[in-house]
């Protein structure tokens, strides 16, 4: 009797779960294994689903490809620049927004807006702003006597431009998280510090920063993962991977190998490598923040 009841509950639960499970199985779980399997072949026919030359040849090919090196280096630069810079700026803005000045509701609306925008569309606006001839940014720099820079067409500047755009795009989300973190700090901590006549800077380093610890770790992990997946920002800004492929990223490389070059196994191998790098970074960062928390 009990057994039958259990069976009934199980069947019922499966009916509830069926739509979600089918979609997730077909479009999330199966692809993980299939992409992994594909990456170990030298050649793969996507219509017959058969491969030739089982082994590590695709991985070796990717790891020896200078374009992949470029993509890897660019992705690292993008992460190393945009993650800390956007975290510092957004923390500063969140603290200012939380300082109880009038009109902070209006400011919040302004600062959060970029969160909902389409990277392709706003990238186009940035393309217009950074245009070397009639872009407003060069005109603005001209006021200070700075010569025009070919932000979008000079391969040496492409990554700089991408990092500026990437930082701008990444701020809104972080400001929201920091602001809610700041509002969650117990006010009594500050009152106690005030009795001790601690200065503003001391309050910041001794109370605000430690209290924001877990949120900071979370921001670093999420921001790094997102930076490693950068793609829409590149296409939005340049329309492709920049002058002479100077702004190619890992995801761009993968997409290009799959879709334009039809090198399916190469694309799969680069995807797996990307996944491994993201996992490694996530664990390192989480490990570091845990150790800090223990001290």
């Amino acid at each position: 009797m009990v057994g039958q009841n259990q069976k009934k509950t199980f069947l019922k639960a499966m009916l509830y779960l069926l739509p979600a499970l089918v979609i997730i199985a077909v479009f999330v779980v199966w692809p993980m294994f299939h992409t992994l399997r594909m990456s170990f072949f030298e050649k793969f026919n996507i219509f017959t689903k058969t491969g030739e030359g089982f082994g590590l040849s695709s991985y070796i090919w990717v790891l020896e490809d200078p374009t992949f090196h470029k993509a890897l280096i660019n992705t690292f630069i993008y992460a190393v620049v945009t993650v800390p810079v956007s975290i510092i700026i957004s923390l500063a803005i969140a603290i200012l927004l939380n300082s109880g000045i009038r009109g902070s509701k209006f400011f919040q609306t302004a600062y959060f807006l970029p969160y909902v925008t389409n990277a392709i569309a706003i990238g186009l606006a940035f393309r217009f702003i950074f245009h070397s001839e009639f872009g407003v940014f060069n005109k603005f720099l001209g006021f200070f006597g700075i010569d025009a820079v070919r932000w979008l067409t000079d391969p040496d500047w492409a990554m700089v431009t991408l990092c500026i755009f990437g930082t701008w795009s990444a701020l809104a989300f972080k400001i929201v998280i920091f602001l809610s973190g700041l509002q969650g700090i117990d006010p009594q901590l500050y009152q106690a510090a005030r009795i001790d006549e601690a200065g503003k800077w001391k309050m910041f380093t001794k109370i605000t920063l430690p209290q924001l610890g877990p949120i900071m770790a979370y921001q670093f992990v999420i921001a790094t993962i997102n930076a490693f997946k950068a793609y829409n920002e590149v296409v939005g800004l340049f329309g492709d991977d920049g002058p002479l492929h100077s702004a190619i990223t890992m995801v761009y490389y993968m997409y290009d190998k799959f879709y334009n070059a039809n090198r399916y196994t190469i694309a799969a191998a680069s995807g797996v490598i990307m996944f491994i790098i993201i996992m490694l970074f996530t664990f390192i960062q989480l490990g570091m923040s845990n150790r800090k928390a223990d001290q």
């Binding site: 999330v28 909902v116 392709i120 606006a125 217009f128 702003i129 989300f173 500050y190």
Partner: protein
């Protein structure tokens, strides 16, 4: 508002307001410049001087963009709406059913299954689009709106979020309802769903915005012009139109304006959603 971080001195207040204003200008300027550019003539947009606002607003730029033969923005817009709405409706449905099963039905292996699902969230979606492309092609769905809808009609993350909310609703009500002979199905739709309204609105909004902004996947599964969504159409339009930046800005504004409206209307839900669930990615 946490008033213990308040600043008192007038000078400090003025400084904060100046800094915040400069920052806000930086955040809003690209939007302003896009809209102002969309209303300029080709002459104004390529002028060596800075022209903050056009002498006469060229609303015709929008008509030109919307009625183009090579890049029919009207059709793109319609496709984007269909895909985003269908995506959102189906996702909400699978999320509600899934979250209910994980939150209320005590079946064998429930926690194990849930952990397995959570583990899949670690894999970047970019990794599975390769295989998904093959799957969609073999399902004969290449170049259809369904190809853009189907793979995103269930989300582990949203199930996880809604389950958390469902778990907060006291169990006693559920048990009492069961004693009264209320079926699970009825309980879910009459009790749980109305209670979770604000969570569902947030999930729906995020899903809609994500679908509206999706780029890589729709690009891969569409070839024909008639099946493109706005992000893709805008990209092709930008590479076709050379230096017609006034038209490009009009196209970009058409893509972004609905998002701005949604943001201004539902700001509270969106901010709460980010702050609570850290919704992104």
């Amino acid at each position: 508002m946490n008033d213990s971080m308040k600043i008192e001195s007038r000078w400090a207040k003025a400084l904060v307001i100046i800094l915040l204003t400069l920052g806000a200008i930086t955040m809003l300027f690209p939007f302003f410049w896009m809209i102002s550019g969309s209303l300029k003539t080709i002459r104004e947009i390529t002028s060596p001087e800075i022209i903050w606002w056009p002498e006469e607003e060229q609303w015709d730029n929008y008509t030109t963009v919307l009625t183009m033969k090579t890049n029919p923005f009207g059709i793109y817009f319609k496709n984007s709406i269909i895909v985003a709405v269908a995506n959102t409706v189906f996702t909400l449905l699978t999320t509600i059913l899934g979250a209910f099963a994980f939150s209320r039905l005590e079946f064998k292996g429930r926690d194990k299954l849930f952990s397995v699902l959570l583990a899949t969230m670690m894999v970047p979606s970019q990794m599975y689009i390769i295989t998904n492309f093959i799957t969609i092609t073999r399902m004969n769905l290449y170049d259809s709106l369904w190809a853009q809808i189907l793979p995103y009609t269930a989300s582990v993350f949203y199930i996880y979020l809604l389950r958390q909310f469902f778990n907060q609703i006291p169990d006693q009500i559920y048990l009492a309802a069961k004693v009264d002979g209320c079926s699970d199905w009825k309980y879910l739709w009459k009790m749980m769903v109305p209670n979770a309204k604000s969570s569902l609105v947030t999930i729906g909004l995020f899903n809609f915005i994500a679908s509206w902004n999706a780029y890589l996947w729709p690009l891969m599964v569409t070839g024909k012009v008639e099946k493109r969504v706005l992000s893709i159409g805008l990209k092709y339009f930008a590479s076709d139109s050379g230096t017609d930046y006034h038209l490009m800005m009009a196209g970009a504004t058409i893509v972004i304006l609905p998002l701005i409206v949604i943001y201004l209307v539902f700001q509270k839900y969106i901010i709460q959603g980010i702050a609570r669930g850290g919704l992104k990615g």
